[in-house]
């Protein structure tokens, strides 16, 4: 049931990304699937984080019409793993920390995405480091703002259980 709910969350995030991007131009700076990845990765399961990241990233690659399918899949999978490992070693579940993690994940994702596109010689709309920095900051603001709202909603749908605390003990 939990797996189904997570899969449904990813699909809904992709659908909302499509619908909102058409209606609100500022939504191009928001990646809801990334926010979903951060949320599920913070539940201290690297495997869950990786798979959610892969599905969300691949889904966004597919619907965004970008030239390279797999770039965001790669980036989100890696971020899912790193965030989950971080949440096992450090306490990241407080709300302000979660928002900070989202902002850092957004910037890391931008750097990874643009870097991989450059390696693959795919066209992305950046014209030098200044513009990349500007876009990375805008995206960090957009993703963080989306996280503020989405985390409240997701906390209600996926309430925290004792298992997340137990998972940390395994690693300690």
């Amino acid at each position: 049931m939990q797996t189904f709910k997570i899969a449904a969350s990813i699909v809904v995030a992709l659908l909302l990304q499509i619908l909102f991007a058409k209606r609100f131009s500022f939504f191009q700076y928001v990646e809801l699937p990334l926010v979903i990845t951060v949320f599920f990765s913070l539940q201290r399961s690297p495997i869950q984080g990786m798979f959610v990241g892969m599905a969300a990233g691949l889904g966004l690659d597919i619907v965004s019409g970008g030239d390279a399918i797999g770039v965001r899949g790669f980036s989100f999978t890696l971020l899912g793993y790193v965030i989950a490992m971080g949440s096992i070693r450090f306490s990241l579940e407080q709300k302000p920390v979660r928002i900070l993690v989202t902002a850092v994940a957004s910037i890391a994702n931008t750097v990874l995405f643009v870097g991989l596109c450059k390696v693959l010689e795919k066209n992305v709309l950046t014209n030098g480091p200044d513009e990349l920095l500007k876009l990375a900051l805008y995206k960090a603001i957009g993703d963080t703002a989306a996280g503020l709202i989405l985390f409240i909603l997701l906390d209600r749908i996926f309430p925290r259980t004792g298992s997340t605390t137990i998972k940390r003990r395994f690693y300690e």
């Binding site: 499509i18 619908l19 209606r23 191009q28 495997i47 798979f51 691949l58 399918i69 797999g70 995405f113």
Partner: protein, 283 residues
């Protein structure tokens, strides 16, 4: 497998998943010929009708409430529209007369007429999903006869070209994308140049010599020489012109005629590059 064992195998799994993504990128890079990859085609085939249906429902609900708000302005708008209809009727009569004269002259001079292109209406499902590309997703695909490089436009001007086709959806590269190019010319002076996408929903007309007289408000149309867009389609209007004493070219900022960042419905001209080449040969 216990949770602990599974979690300790996570680094190995991470390596496998990342390798899978790399293989996917490599496979995708090899199969780029205008058609959507199998994975994208499947996902888009499922998600397109859902997104279209949900979007339609949202539009109806918001439209219902907007309708109430707009009723307040309907009276004033009605008066304005009546004045506009009178003006347009006059213009239409003049245009009909001019067209009749033109047809007569063409017949007398023995000029070959350009064929009219068939077009297909399409709805925009999404636009600019990511900040990295200027793209539209439309609800028409190969099942409707859409092919790569077909021009996409509205009644006011060109929007872009089809870059990837799936069974029931296609991706359109907007003319405001920095990597898009359109062969264009100034309608009055017939001076040719190249349109390139810029930020902020604008384009730049390049390769226009500094000596050419260009005024703000000049209309720009397609040349038909880029192998994508037929000749004479509206591209945009000159928004600003800058002269640099040290540069051989003018810097011309162009506002697209079509509202590329707000467009809801478009037409796809069912014409392929090979048809355009045949047309050039015909001319």
């Amino acid at each position: 497998m216990s949770t602990n064992t599974a979690q300790h195998k996570a680094p190995l799994l991470l390596g496998l998943l990342l390798l899978l993504q790399v293989l996917l990128m490599s496979w995708n890079a090899r199969t780029q010929a205008g058609d959507q990859s199998v994975l994208r085609a499947w996902v888009m085939a499922v998600i397109t009708p859902v997104a279209k249906g949900t979007g339609w429902t949202i539009d109806r609900v918001t439209g219902f409430f907007d309708g109430f708000a707009e009723l307040r302005h309907a009276r004033d708008e009605n008066v304005q529209l009546k004045i506009e209809i009178e003006r347009l009727t006059q213009e239409r009569d003049e245009a009909v007369e001019k067209a009749a004269v033109k047809n007569n002259l063409e017949a007398e001079l023995g000029l070959r007429l350009l064929p009219r292109f068939r077009s297909l209406a399409a709805s925009v499902i999404s636009r600019n999903i990511a900040v990295w590309f200027r793209r539209l997703t439309i609800d028409r695909g190969s099942m409707d006869g859409i092919k790569k490089d077909m021009p996409v436009l509205t009644s006011s001007g060109i929007v872009g070209r089809v870059i990837e086709v799936g069974p029931n959806s296609s991706f359109v590269q907007l003319i405001t994308d920095r990597y898009a190019g359109v062969g264009a010319m100034l309608q009055q002076s017939r001076e040719m140049g190249e349109i390139r996408g810029q930020e902020n929903s604008r384009c730049e007309m390049k390769a226009v010599a500094a000596s050419v007289d260009v005024q703000v408000g000049d209309k720009i149309i397609t040349t038909g020489l880029d192998g994508i867009y037929p000749k004479g389609l509206p591209v945009g209007t000159v928004e600003s012109v800058e002269n640099d004493a040290n540069a051989p070219w003018k810097k011309i900022l162009v506002k697209p005629s079509a509202p590329v960042d707000r467009v809801e419905h478009v037409f796809v001209l069912l014409i392929e590059p090979k048809d355009l080449k045949a047309l050039e040969a015909f001319k």
